[in-house]
């Protein structure tokens, strides 16, 4: 039994007990959860962009940036900076290439695109060939593909430069892997049956089923825009499975899974309150 299930059972038992006693009073409480990070040095936050991969039906970089910005606007004290989304995958690839060149000819690492200016993704004069983004994204299929690109998060100069351009905000970046997956196995579901006396009954039935769905694996990295160093990072993994009859668009699944993670993400930056009830006694 998971902790959450145990808590739900305890809560139900609590309600039953309370209804049977006179000298007890159930009260609603809001437990404040302090943010994991001290964000007091920052007034502004930049959701820069993410190394994204997996399903080609969803632009996980763009969607994650949009979603987190809108959530932070309404649920955080920090001012959210509106800026072009960094094509982090391209930049990470460029940095890797440059790194190879650095050892050979001493070239400097890839620099971030200018603030407010066109990003390499939208810049038609960029040297990247057409559809380069699609080609690179297609290569990111799992965590192994992401690993060699994650060096960009440790590139202090790169992040410091971005920090300078946006007046030293808290920078949020990381990786988002949104992949389709299928799983087969026994699933318990309820089935209506009519017994010998003609009565309708619902009985649990175990059926072998092949289900399809998605896995979302984001890793959020929080970088100090003043120094370019990582302050904090956290990773999540959520999955959803649907019956074969169900046709759920990838984007809907993406939002369904992100909905589960957003409270945890927000509680890293701002105080969140968990509503519940407890029993006072005389």
């Amino acid at each position: 039994m998971t902790a959450r299930t145990a808590a739900a059972v305890a809560s139900f038992a609590l309600a039953l007990t309370v209804s049977a006693c006179n000298d007890v009073y159930e009260v609603p409480i809001e437990t404040p959860i302090q943010p994991k990070m001290d964000v007091s040095p920052f007034q502004r936050v930049l959701i820069a962009g993410f190394l994204a991969g997996g399903s080609e039906d969803v632009d996980a970089n763009l969607e994650t940036v949009r979603l987190l910005r809108s959530q932070l606007r309404s649920k955080s004290q920090l001012k959210v900076i509106d800026a072009d989304v960094l094509p982090l995958l391209e930049l990470a690839n460029e940095q890797r290439t440059d790194k190879g060149e650095t050892s050979a000819n001493g070239a400097s690492p890839a620099t971030p695109p200018p603030a407010g200016g066109p990003t390499p993704a939208s810049n038609t004069t960029t040297q990247a060939p057409p559809k380069a983004k699609d080609v690179q994204q297609a290569r990111i299929k799992d965590e192994k593909d992401l690993e060699p690109l994650e060096g960009i998060f440790a590139n202090v100069d790169f992040w410091k430069k971005i920090g300078e351009e946006y007046q030293n905000p808290l920078i949020v970046t990381g990786s988002v892997l949104f992949t389709a997956h299928a799983r087969s196995g026994f699933v318990q579901r309820e089935q209506e049956v009519i017994d010998q006396l003609g009565r309708r009954r619902v009985v649990p039935v175990r059926t072998y089923m092949e289900r399809k769905g998605f896995i979302l694996q984001p890793k959020f990295i929080f970088i100090d825009g003043r120094t370019g160093t990582t302050i904090y990072s956290e990773g999540y993994k959520e999955e959803v499975l649907y019956s074969p009859q169900q046709t759920t668009p990838a984007l809907s699944s993406y939002f369904e899974l992100m909905d589960r993670l957003v409270p945890s993400f927000l509680s890293t930056l701002s105080t969140q309150k968990i509503k519940g009830s407890r029993v006072l006694m005389k």
């Binding site: 305890a10 609590l14 007990t17 409480i29 945890s264 407890r278 029993v279 006072l280 006694m281 005389k282």
Partner: protein, 119 residues
């Protein structure tokens, strides 16, 4: 012999009056607990904390005072104080299911916070 008689008399007085004193303490503490409940229901948790702290000081063996205090600390985000108060309440009344259930719900939130912290 005279001294022995005085000591015996004193012992008798103490043994007779001790439960009465304890009962008085419980009565006073109970008034604080009840007032604390009234104000907590109105959302005045700080006042409730003050009342329940008084109750716990007057009668340190009163489980309800510690249970309520733990809830109030939890509401204020003072998790360490809440844990200690719950543990004291359970120490005084280990079989009380209400206290135990309150504590379980508290632990679930506290564990989740600590899990995040250890990431």
């Amino acid at each position: 012999m005279h001294l022995r008689q005085i000591l015996a008399a004193a012992l008798l007085v103490v043994s007779v009056s001790a439960p009465a004193v304890a009962k008085d303490a419980r009565d006073v503490a109970k008034k604080h607990v009840e007032f604390g409940i009234t104000v907590a229901q109105k959302g005045l948790w700080r006042e409730a904390i003050y009342r329940w702290e008084q109750a716990a000081k007057i009668d340190p063996n009163y489980p309800a005072a510690f249970n309520n205090l733990a809830i109030a600390y939890e509401h204020e985000g003072q998790f360490e104080k809440a844990r200690k108060a719950y543990e004291r309440a359970l120490e005084l009344e280990p079989d009380n299911q209400l206290i135990r259930q309150n504590y379980e719900l508290f632990k679930e939130i506290n564990d989740r916070t600590n899990r995040r912290g250890s990431r």
